[in-house]
Subunit: 431 residues, 2 copies
């Protein structure tokens, strides 16, 4: 396997790193036009349009709109029929994810100042959330848990899930995860038509306040377009891992961590930073040696050869600076004393600290969310969390006494801005 080697000492390192990280989703005008027309059609014709697209794209002969919904008993049956070990693993993961997310719940707050004026924020959950789950190969039960459980912890009243079932094939693990996460209603629809149905509502599918969850290019485009009619989570780019290693972790472990990112798809990015040049070559040898055991070896090879890199850095300080520049989705800090380096790390979706913390433990069951900012967006955004399913209303209750003081300030500034009704409204209260 030919994985790119870079050195931070090279004169062209900065340009080489920029090129390595460059990724731009190409705009596809035909796809955009298709999505725009599906959205408009569903908005206008509701269920009838959704049924037509589902019959056509998913080859699903639905008799009527009611047939789009899966009975709850079917979800329970899927859960009950799981092998015991799998069911137990799913339950333990769900419990840990729930426990962690409960620490994120935000609560209303207020205070009263000296003249009796009360100020604060009321925090409330969203009423109804829609979860998009892809059909086919990329349908992951862990993704159902990671998207549904924070909404449930936030106190969202109703959680709707859509999952396409092309040719009627259902993913039993996904249905089981939906049951376990407390999803309220499941519809077997997908694509832009499912996003439209949830954003605008139809006779059968209730309008939601926010749509979350991964999807293909049609789903991503549809989510971008309905933003405003409802909220959306982030639009994810290819998955990424950056491993910083001091050279003292088993090189097999590090190679497998790079594989675990690369196996997602050919565009996934896996990068190793180490101050130990000899260690870098040992990781490369481990990768060559381990590749053949991997069922997804062709995907792994393509991803690592095209978008991976093993980078020799001067020292740990420089490794942290490069990590901040990359702002990776997943950052493994496979070093002796990870706490010592944590204050230097500013931008990352999740930081996996110490030799025992493989990214995969966090992906499934450690507790934190696996929906994380990609493509450098960790510079300004955060993991999916309970806070994404809560929102705030400012609270202001001005006392008669407070209205004297605030009325004077507000009217002065309002006159300065030429907004006389604002000024007069404040002066009325000043008395």
């Amino acid at each position: 396997m030919k994985i790119k080697r870079l050195s931070s000492r090279a004169a062209d390192f900065d340009a080489a790193l920029t090129q390595l990280l460059a990724f731009e989703a190409t705009a596809d005008e035909k796809l955009e036009a298709t999505v725009a027309s599906i959205l408009a059609d569903v908005r206008q014709r509701g269920d009838e349009a959704v049924l037509e697209y589902t019959r056509k794209f998913d080859r699903l002969p639905l008799a009527n709109a009611a047939a789009m919904e899966l009975p709850r008993e079917e979800l329970r049956a899927a859960f009950d029929s799981l092998p015991a070990a799998q069911r137990s693993a799913l339950e333990q993961a769900a419990q840990r994810v729930t426990d962690y997310h409960q620490k994120q719940v935000q609560t209303s707050w207020s205070y009263t100042d000296a003249d009796g004026t009360m100020l604060g924020q009321q925090v409330t959950p969203l009423d109804r959330v829609g979860l998009y789950v892809p059909g086919g190969k990329a349908a992951y039960p862990s993704s159902v848990l990671m998207n549904a459980l924070p909404a449930k912890v936030a106190g969202v009243d109703e959680l709707i899930m859509v999952v396409p079932t092309p040719d009627g094939v259902k993913n039993q693990l996904v249905l089981a995860a939906a049951h376990l996460s407390g999803v309220d209603r499941v519809f077997t629809i997908g694509g832009a038509q499912a996003v439209a149905a949830m954003a605008y509502g139809t006779a059968s599918i209730p309008r939601v306040d926010k749509i979350v969850g991964p999807g293909n290019a049609y789903v991503a485009s549809a989510k971008r377009r309905v933003f405003g009619a409802c909220g959306i989570d982030m639009i994810a780019g290819p998955s990424e891992i950056l491993v910083i290693c001091d050279g003292k972790t088993n090189p097999d472990w590090i190679a497998m961590d790079l594989f675990s990112q690369a196996e997602h798809d050919e565009l996934a990015q896996a990068i190793l930073l180490s101050p130990d040049a000899e260690f870098i070559e040992r990781v490369a040898q481990s990768a060559d040696h381990l590749l053949d055991q991997m069922p997804r070896k062709e995907i792994i090879r393509t991803a690592l050869e095209n978008r991976g890199a093993l980078i020799h850095v001067a020292d740990m300080e420089e490794a942290c600076a490069i990590a901040n520049r990359i702002a990776p989705e997943h950052l493994e800090l496979s070093v002796e004393d990870p706490q010592a380096w944590l204050p230097k790390l500013k931008h990352a979706g999740a930081i996996f600290m110490g030799r025992y913390t493989s990214e995969s433990l966090g992906d499934y069951c450690a507790g934190p969310n696996h929906v994380l900012p990609t493509s450098g967006t960790a510079r300004f955004s955060s993991p999916l969390g309970v806070y994404d399913f809560q929102k705030r209303s400012s609270l202001i209750q001005v006392s008669p006494q407070g209205a004297q003081k605030l009325g004077a300030i507000a009217s002065e500034l309002a006159f300065g801005e030429g907004l006389q009704a604002h000024a007069q409204s404040a002066l009325f209260r000043k008395g």
Copy 2:
């Protein structure tokens, strides 16, 4: 003035309310194409492109790129030369806004579970933020405070401001507010070219991590398009107020509160809900009576006649239900015991409680932010706050003991999803 009257008892009320609230920004293909080309040009040619557009659109004969930046001393001089009353009002407002926003600061947290595994989130400020301030009439110093101070409270390292100065005309109040808020650097550029310069960076203008602040249709389109390269705040629609009044507030006060929204622009929306039909007519009479004193009376009249409404409701319960359906940007609860009704209000950007709390007091100086979700987006989004300038990284440090248990769960689920490298990476740690 002919303000629409509606009654919740009317058979067609639901349809009438839907029509009243309908607002859709029309897509302007020519504008979109112009913005796309400006963004591409600035991305490629940097300062040269920004200078050309600024000379052309703002008729500003800048000698070179360095001339785009205002010296700090000019900001200070603007502040020092304010009339004392205005300077004091601005200072008091800034202090109150700072005090309130300090309550929003979020801090890192972590916990260690029974087997020694540490989990948490590290909360860090954004490195660099760009604040867009419109030129001309809609340039409000209060808006500078409301956007800049939360970023400063969050601990943002560097705050860049752009403000166009067409024909070289500078708004001294805006410069004074920038000085007071601690803005680090100010550039006299605007439009899509300023958004592009901040999103991508040029030789003279540093790349930012997030762009906030209001702007015209070109700026809004540019912000939507650069999202991903950097973060953006919300894209605001027309401003709105919903007043719920029990009929016992001075009708002049309520009429002026409706005016204070309507005076913003012709598309602003002001609605009154009251169970007291006679009171509604008194507010209408007050409006007729007060209109002539208003310098912006034509804007107020147009807004109220086209988009305003006085709605007679059955009772306060129903008023709260309608408010939740509207999810207004500003909600005045002008009633005897506002605390009693608060639990029934789920969706609003800000709630102004009690007869003394005019929206204008909150717009300028009560403390809470005046950048609020519009067009019903309060169903899923929040006022601008310190949390918009902080982001989180998940922290996971699995202990050797924890790796046994988590490795078993993760590998079971990874095999179930067909991701063998994930499973193997977890099993290596399980040992």
